[in-house]
């Protein structure tokens, strides 16, 4: 049951709109209830072929030999696809935005690094024929030691999982093996605190488990191009990834997404398109490659399990004056998107609270399991679990009501956040007050009258407003970095809103990165976004 509190923040809103705010029926609902919404697989072809993938049974092994001769002759088999057939057999998803080095093959050539890693594809007249042929393939392996725990993987002597990052961690700015956050002086804060406590939190990997599994159909079309019906969540992201792996110009691929049968982040990795396109190019016929439910469950990328240590220093009056977070993201065998999630996690520390002394160290760690990827709340869900359990412990430790403890420390407009940006447009306090009222969770009067807005409601006892603004360590002066691509359209100023200040001036920029990280020179006409994280190896 849903209700609105239109009275809160009413002065910041113009509510007399026509279509905005209306409970208009979904544009796609009639198709859903009549079974006519088009999903990628809702196409029929007279000569559709089927691609099935032979996957590694081992978590870490060297491929000694492959004998697919019997399989190639099996009934219904049109083609066997091997690593050598893949034009560009090394990629990382975020190479499209110059973030990270290519580290993952589409088909394993020499080493398999997770159970289920694709080794070989079989294109046949039916999925059954392909599976029967697959049983005739003989592969011999030399098993290699595997590591499954994120902290074990960082210890000296741990098996090296990913050849591109031999020390089992993603490299940040070509300088560090993890993403750092430093604000104020946590050690000083812990020394000054009345109560200091640390705890360890462990998320589980999470499978997206959409009711429609990953899949795509690549179809040679009339003018030498390929139509690709796909379940992707990111049409051009998958198109560009497929174009790179197949070494074809991007406009040779015509991607058509359908309604997607649930994504939740599990259909960003472009898991099937590159190989269905390659197969269609090799056999000159439409090819469908779709994950079985077992494949989706175990070999489709989950959100990685994050292990997070949180240490708090708090005062008897309820103020949190120091918080340090050390987190390990389990990226699995390859990078995919976990490297990006780590930075998003660092940006989220210390949670929606104004804390003068904060430090964060977040690692992207490689282990011998299915590579992890984005999943609803990527990089943040795990940290929220850790931080909000930690908040409960802090309140309990000093005998304070857990909700009042949160309202006291909640960030407000004008506070300085740990990533050195001013808090704006905040509403944590109002959410807490409204939820408490709705659930009749008692709050003392002063907490019911606090406000996120500057100069409103009762001030925070004990936290001088200015102290929360200036970080203990003065931020070094910053020169603006290269200007981003100029945009010719004016910023969207919603016509109906009260005149709001000019579009936010670009936030103070950090110093231009040391030359080592400057990209080797943009390869395209317009200045591509500068790589801020690492050079992109050609």
């Amino acid at each position: 049951m849903l209700e609105f509190r239109k009275d809160i923040f009413a002065d910041e809103r113009d509510d007399n709109l026509h279509e905005i705010g209306q409970p208009t029926q979904r544009q796609d609902m009639l198709g859903h209830v009549t079974g006519t919404s088009p999903y990628y697989d809702d196409h029929r072809f007279g000569n559709l072929l089927h691609l099935k993938i032979l996957r590694s049974p081992h978590a870490h092994a060297r491929i000694r030999s492959i004998d697919d001769s019997a399989a190639a002759r099996a009934p219904g088999v049109k083609r066997i696809i091997r690593a050598a057939d893949v034009p560009v057999n090394l990629n990382t998803l975020l190479s499209l935005i110059q973030f990270g080095k290519d580290d993952e093959p589409s088909l394993a050539a020499d080493v398999v690094r997770y159970k289920g890693e694709p080794i070989l594809g079989i294109v046949a007249t039916s999925e059954r024929a392909a599976l029967e042929a697959m049983a005739l393939v003989r592969i011999s392996y030399d098993q290699l030691p595997a590591v499954f725990d994120v902290e074990e993987a960082l210890k000296p002597g741990a098996p090296s999982v990913n050849a591109t990052y031999p020390k089992n961690t993603f490299e940040y700015y070509n300088k560090y093996d993890h993403q750092k956050l430093r604000y104020g002086d946590v050690e000083a804060g812990f020394a000054q605190a009345d109560v200091v406590f640390e705890d360890r939190y462990q998320m589980s990997p999470i499978e997206h488990a959409p009711t429609e599994t990953n899949g795509s159909i690549a179809v040679p079309d009339t003018n030498g191009r390929f139509i690709v019906y796909t379940s992707t969540q990111a049409l051009f992201f998958s198109l560009d990834t497929s174009a790179k792996i197949n070494a074809v110009p991007s406009n040779q691929l015509h991607f058509i997404g359908g309604t997607v049968g649930g994504g939740f982040g599990g259909k960003v990795d472009t898991l099937t398109e590159p190989l269905s396109i390659l197969a269609a190019r090799l056999v000159g016929a439409p090819v469908r490659y779709r994950f079985s439910r077992h494949e989706e469950m175990q070999f489709g990328s989950p959100r990685g399990g994050e292990r997070i240590y949180v240490k708090d220093g708090i005062m008897r009056d309820g103020r949190i004056i120091a918080r340090s977070v050390r987190a390990y993201f389990d990226s699995g065998a390859y990078t995919r998107l976990s490297s990006y999630a780590v930075v998003k996690c660092a940006a989220h520390i210390p949670g929606p609270y104004t804390i003068p002394n904060v430090s964060g160290d977040v690692y992207c760690v490689f282990t011998n399991r299915t590579p992890a990827t984005a999943m609803r709340g990527f990089g943040v869900t795990a940290l929220d679990f850790a931080l909000e359990c930690q908040m409960d412990k802090g309140a309990t430790a000093i005998g304070m009501d857990p909700l009042e403890y949160r309202i006291l420390n909640a960030y407000r407009d004008g506070d300085m956040k740990a990533h050195r940006r001013e808090a704006k447009n905040t509403a944590l306090i109002e959410c807490a007050q409204v939820a408490a009222e709705k659930a009749n969770w008692p709050l003392r009067e002063e907490f019911r009258r606090m406000s996120s807005r500057k100069g409103e409601g009762t001030a925070r006892p004990g936290i001088a407003p200015d102290r929360s603004r200036a970080p203990a360590v003065p931020a070094p002066a910053r020169a603006p970095a290269a200007a981003p691509q100029r945009i010719s359209y004016e910023r969207p100023t919603p016509a109906a809103l009260p005149p709001r200040p000019a579009p936010p001036a670009p936030p103070p920029r950090s110093a231009p990165l040391p030359p080592a990280t400057a990209p080797a020179g943009s390869t395209h006409g317009a200045p591509r976004f500068s790589s801020v994280f690492g050079t992109r190896r050609r």
């Binding site: 029926q25 979904r26 796609d28 609902m29 009639l30 198709g31 859903h32 209830v33 009549t34 079974g35 006519t36 919404s37 999903y39 809702d42 029929r44 039916s126 059954r128 488990a209 959409p210 009711t211 429609e212 599994t213 309604t259 997607v260 049968g261 649930g262 994504g263 939740f264 079985s292 439910r293 077992h294």
Partner: protein, 158 residues
């Protein structure tokens, strides 16, 4: 080795050939062309492919196509009566009981099987009726309310 098969699909006589051993889901989608039936697992664990066979709900992915010879099969494509939506369809619309829509055909069939036998079910009856159908988007509440609305013959909003 192809096997001829003939059955009633949403009231129409249908005849086609199937690979022997083929399941009803692949037969409906690929041989007959009824794309309103969706497949989610081919293991019998998600309910997405639910259709009615002689009025009873069946997982079409675990149903041998040949065993349906001569039977009456109902799918979501057959729910409408011409332009008019079935009460379940309009109730699902009014309750916004679908997001990605992939489980919706299976949910509608499971709900129809219930209502055809029990026109005024309790909430518990509805929960049991869809207990074999996985939905990852809606949280089930809108679907349960939609079925109860449709049962009440008044797909008005509560």
């Amino acid at each position: 080795m192809k096997t001829p098969i003939q059955f009633l699909l949403n009231g129409e006589e249908v005849a086609t050939f199937v690979e022997s051993g083929a399941n009803l889901l692949d037969t409906l989608r690929e041989a007959v062309g009824d794309l309103s039936v969706k497949g989610g697992c081919w293991q019998g664990t998600c309910g997405t492919c639910t259709v009615l066979v002689d009025g009873s709900p069946r997982l079409s992915c675990l149903t041998l196509a040949e065993s349906c010879a001569g039977r009456a099969i109902e799918t979501t494509a057959g729910l409408r009566r011409g332009p008019d939506l079935h009460p379940l369809q309009s109730a699902f619309m009014e309750r916004f009981a679908a997001q990605c829509g992939y489980c919706t055909p299976g949910m509608l069939m499971a709900a129809k099987a219930l209502l055809d036998k029990n026109p005024n079910p309790t909430r518990e009856n509805v929960v049991d009726a869809i207990s074999g159908n996985v939905c990852r988007c809606t949280g089930y509440e809108p679907i349960i309310n939609a079925v109860l609305d449709a049962a009440g013959g008044n797909s008005r909003r509560a």
